[in-house]
Symmetry: C2
């Protein structure tokens, strides 16, 4: 067994990076991170992640570039504690909720909300398209919350102990908060309480400090500032100076 920590490429503010870091924290796997905003990846990053997505995981054996694939791999390699339900029917439902979060919540919370309000302004210097934000807030997010309200439990987690489904759903609400969106607890009481409950779990709480720092530090200073704050910043970086769009445009 190697003793080199698992290498993670990807910014603390990415919901998909957060998901993988929470899994690593829960399983007690040591890691180092290159807190890369995916638009700032260099040519070597394109080779590691063919669609220029984060996170990327690199360890002694594999290089993987999708959060769901990474989490399932971590479960296979480090089975304890189990983050996928044992029951195969619950496990299928957990994976469905993970997929729903990754794609539909990703599309709306990240691309229509966070991207418009944060990424476009701070990475690209472009104005927010308010019509996109309004549609997200008035139509798309309510539709997602209506669905989640039928899925999440009134107490505890979805499948007993904390699972990949809880982690995958909750991570998007941290980004929503950075975009100043809060769930209306009168309209979606179960979701509002559930999100608050899951985001209070140890690993989510621990990571928040580094996310807050990232959110108020210019990209080119983040590695230094995060390292000084105690984040496990890797030696190697895949950052370039010129922002570049991804391949996957959703």
């Amino acid at each position: 067994m190697t003793t080199r920590p698992v290498q993670i490429i990807g910014a603390y503010l990415s919901p998909y990076v957060r998901k993988v870091l929470v899994v690593l924290e829960l399983k007690g796997v040591a890691y180092e991170i290159d807190p890369l905003t995916p638009f700032m990846g260099d040519d070597r990053f394109s080779l590691l992640s063919p669609v220029r997505r984060v996170p990327v995981l690199i360890d002694d054996v594999v290089t993987l570039a999708d959060s769901s694939v990474i989490c399932q791999y971590l479960e296979d390699r480090y089975p304890k504690p189990a983050l996928y339900p044992i029951d195969i029917f619950d496990r299928a439902r957990a994976r469905w909720l993970e997929e729903y979060a990754d794609t539909r919540m990703g599309e709306v919370f990240i691309w229509h909300l966070f991207n418009q309000l944060i990424i476009k302004r701070f990475v690209w210097g472009e104005p927010t398209d308010q019509a996109v934000v309004d549609r997200a807030k008035n139509e798309e997010i309510p539709s997602i919350l209506d669905y989640l309200e039928t899925q999440v439990p009134a107490s505890n987690c979805l499948f007993g102990d904390l699972s990949i489904a809880d982690i995958s759903i909750a991570t998007f609400f941290r980004n929503a908060a950075y975009a100043r969106y809060a769930v209306d607890a009168r309209r979606w009481p179960k979701v509002a309480a559930y999100v608050e409950r899951i985001l209070a779990e140890g690993p989510f709480a621990k990571l928040k400090k580094f996310e807050d720092l990232s959110s108020r530090t210019p990209i080119d200073q983040q590695r230094t500032v995060l390292r000084e704050a105690g984040a496990p910043i890797s030696v190697e970086t895949y950052m370039t100076t010129q922002p570049r769009r991804g391949v996957l445009q959703i």
Copy 2:
């Protein structure tokens, strides 16, 4: 154990439906199909598939609406023959290739090629955007094939026996063929031979008959024509008469 066949909702021409049907065929699981073009789903379909995607699987216990989640569930419930590599590192790589195919190949082969040339014309009566098709053929597909050429083997399958990775990749080339796109074997010799090899496997070959029929039969006659040709068409249908766009617009 129930003896009712597994119910699949989704058209034979969908690459994601084909992927699930190939898995069902390989595992010898009996199924019935409602060959639904997702745009033709009724309101009950929206409840089963919140992002209006196909395939949907319904059996005695679960309802699932994502091909990767469905295939993993089928592997868990019907383990033989194994379609995910036993080795956890190979398994992770297989899942990565499945994810790459589902998202990146889906975006380009389906939305930029098949959608433009087939779906837009025959479902929506809209003209092809030739610029999108040209960019797919001249830039996006070559980039995908360059990547796959570094991944696929010169003979046999990716991981010994036929696996979820082979099935997930090959299925898109059947749709490419319906859009009259063929891989240039001089430029990408390994991919060209690999695709031909995988699509010649029994289940892919068996399904082709029903795909060909679907491709030349008006939507409202497909259930009847397919049933007469011996396809296991379900009694229940979720088809409506008025086409409706999905939620996920990639």
